[in-house]
């Protein structure tokens, strides 16, 4: 049964259905509604046996999650933007220790200048932290990804970030079928940690590793990520069988056997699909290739999916200054050895709406190969001229 529900509330209920033992909460927009809802679910007994920890910072949130997970407790937290940056040191530790923490990132721009609105700068800045990163197109996807994220995390012994666009998804009210405790119980077995901190059977985890073995430790981390590339679709199929709706996959193609294919991730995929429908009706051959998994990066699958494309446009919601888009660089690596022209479009930074009209015009230009190698969508040249005038 679908409910018309705010994305944050749907995610909170899905997380609660996964029965975490520890939830660490520190508020930051646009993530706050998620941990607020979880606090209500814990207080009212809907989520029993869970310790809801009000921590003093995001650094503490991740540190407490690390401690909890290391003792064998299923641990969850959520953050965004500067909050994620403040966790950075602990993020690498969680991944390096192989702790299957699940965290929602309600994607938001990074300052300065301060900006509370949506783009992907925050999660992209931590792309090499060793966390798996999954991106949600809709609130149904965001809700379902959390259930699958716990399963994936615990199976791989790796932490997973579920990235959902701040405000655009977290604050959007739309139909969602929220997984029940019973349904989740059939999909997500009890957490059995690979190693566990226990005063009765003391072990050390995360001990120092010197030059003689550090490369090997990192190689194993890389291999675990590559293993996740096959587990993500497998667990997605199992989810689909149990829940009767699509589960996660590495890629989400839509009319992707087109001459021009746009690669993108997150909630912009919906607007892109509507745009592509309009273009196809006009005889312009454009398709969409959504990325659900960004880390690990499904390079081989992406390359295979783009084999027939005459050109590829990568729509990035984050900027690497001095380079261009962030995902574009990964796509280039995946397309290595092919001659497919690749255009880089940076769009929707700091909450700038990405409209169908702008996407339509950009994709028509791309289809004529009349696009700059790096394009900033809807760049306000009057504003730039004014800024130059004020030197």
């Amino acid at each position: 049964m679908t409910e018309q529900i705010e994305g944050s509330k749907a995610v909170a209920r899905a997380v609660a259905a996964c029965r975490p033992r520890v939830v660490c909460a520190y508020p930051i927009s646009p993530q706050t509604h998620i941990v607020e809802s979880l606090s209500t679910l814990v207080r009212t007994g809907v989520l029993p046996g869970c310790e809801f920890v009000n921590v003093e910072s995001e650094f503490a949130a991740m540190s407490v999650a690390i401690g909890a997970s290391a003792t064998g407790a299923r641990a969850y937290t959520a953050t965004a933007s500067q909050g994620l940056l403040f966790m950075a040191e602990a993020l690498f530790n969680a991944a390096g220790l192989g702790l299957p923490i699940v965290m929602t990132v309600a994607n938001r721009a990074l300052g300065a200048p301060i900006n509370i609105w949506n783009d992907h700068s925050d999660a992209m800045s931590q792309r090499d932290s060793g966390w798996i990163q999954l991106y949600a197109e809709s609130n149904q996807a965001a809700t379902d990804l959390h259930v699958q994220a716990f399963r994936l995390a615990e199976e791989m012994s790796l932490p997973v970030m579920v990235c959902m666009d701040g405000f655009v998804l977290t604050h959007a009210c739309e139909p969602v079928e929220v997984p029940t405790v019973e349904q989740v119980g059939g999909y997500l077995p009890a957490f059995v940690p690979r190693q566990r901190l226990d005063p009765d059977a003391p072990v050390t985890i995360g001990a120092m590793v010197g030059p003689e073995a550090f490369t090997e430790v990192r190689y194993l981390a890389h291999r675990t990520h590559l293993d996740a590339l096959s587990r993500i679709p497998a667990l997605g199929e199992e989810f689909a069988r149990g829940f009767g709706r699509p589960g996660m996959s590495l890629l989400a193609p839509y009319q992707a056997d087109a001459e021009t294919v746009v690669v993108a991730l997150g909630s912009i995929l919906g607007t892109l699909k509507d745009t592509v429908d309009g273009l196809c009706a006009d005889g312009v051959s454009v398709g969409v290739l959504g990325l659900t998994a960004y880390r690990p990066f499904p390079g081989a699958a992406l390359c295979a999916a783009l084999r027939g494309a005459r050109r590829v446009v990568v729509l990035d919601r984050a900027l690497a200054p001095g380079v261009g888009g962030v995902v574009a660089a990964d796509v280039d690596t995946a397309l290595r050895g092919t001659r497919t022209p690749r255009y880089d479009v940076v769009a929707g930074l700091g909450g700038r709406p990405v409209t169908r009209a702008s996407l339509d015009a950009m994709l028509r230009a791309a289809a004529r190969d009349a696009l700059d190698p790096v394009t900033f969508l809807d760049l306000d040249t009057d504003l730039l001229a004014g800024a130059a005038g004020h030197g």
Binding site: T2, E3, Q4, E6, P30, I116, W117, S138, F167, V168, H171, A172, C173, E174, P175, S267, I268, L269, G270, T271, K273, D274, P353, V354, T355, R356
Partner: protein
């Protein structure tokens, strides 16, 4: 697809209005999407929220740029830039004001709308008398439902009761009902069916 844009000020329940509308539409078996256009949340600051209703799943996530219906919750926003931008040619407008339409600073195209497309009602006064608080959002939804037929009144009432506790819910339902009746009585017979841009 039918789309609604609601303009108001922080504290007037703009976001709640869009959500209630989407819940009522969903209860009627349709697909709906409601979302706010947030600034930093401050009481009194201009706020917008959007609602789309369709017979198939809604993928589009851009702000509502060409609304089929506009709700203006605060008459001081009538002169604000962008409030009426993109209004569909056959669009509907609901304005909260305690004075007649002739005395409002409406743009010429809006002032020229007939009474099947423009309604001005004292929603704040209705809210004060039925709820005891100057929150006009739900009364305006009642007026919108009557003017456009986008959702049946009973679906709206159910959404209100799902959202608010007992007495607050009943006060809001009463305010919405009063606004609904006010608009229905002023409409010619047969008016008040949903109009759409596609």
């Amino acid at each position: 697809m039918y789309s609604v844009r609601i303009h108001g000020r922080g504290g007037q329940g703009v976001v709640t209005a869009a959500e209630l509308l989407s819940v009522a539409a969903h209860a009627g078996g349709r697909y709906a999407q409601a979302f706010p256009s947030f600034g930093s949340e401050r009481t009194g600051a201009p706020v917008m929220a959007f609602c789309r209703v369709d017979d198939r799943p809604i993928r589009l996530r851009e702000p509502v740029l060409t609304p089929d219906a506009l709700v203006v919750q605060d008459p001081t926003l009538l002169r604000a830039p962008g409030v009426f931008t993109g209004l569909a040619p056959d669009g509907s407008v609901v304005v909260n004001a305690a004075v007649a339409r002739e005395r409002l600073p409406l743009p010429p195209a809006v002032a020229a709308l007939d009474r099947e497309h423009l309604v001005v009602l004292p929603a704040t006064a209705l809210a004060l008398s039925h709820i005891g608080r100057p929150v006009p959002n739900v009364a305006l939804l009642g007026a919108l439902a009557a003017l456009t037929g986008l959702v049946p009144f009973e679906a709206m009432a159910a959404a209100i009761r799902e959202r608010f506790p007992g007495k607050v819910a009943e006060g809001n339902v009463a305010a919405a009902h009063a606004a609904f009746d006010l608009v229905r009585q002023a409409l010619p017979a047969g008016a008040g069916r949903e109009r759409s841009d596609d």
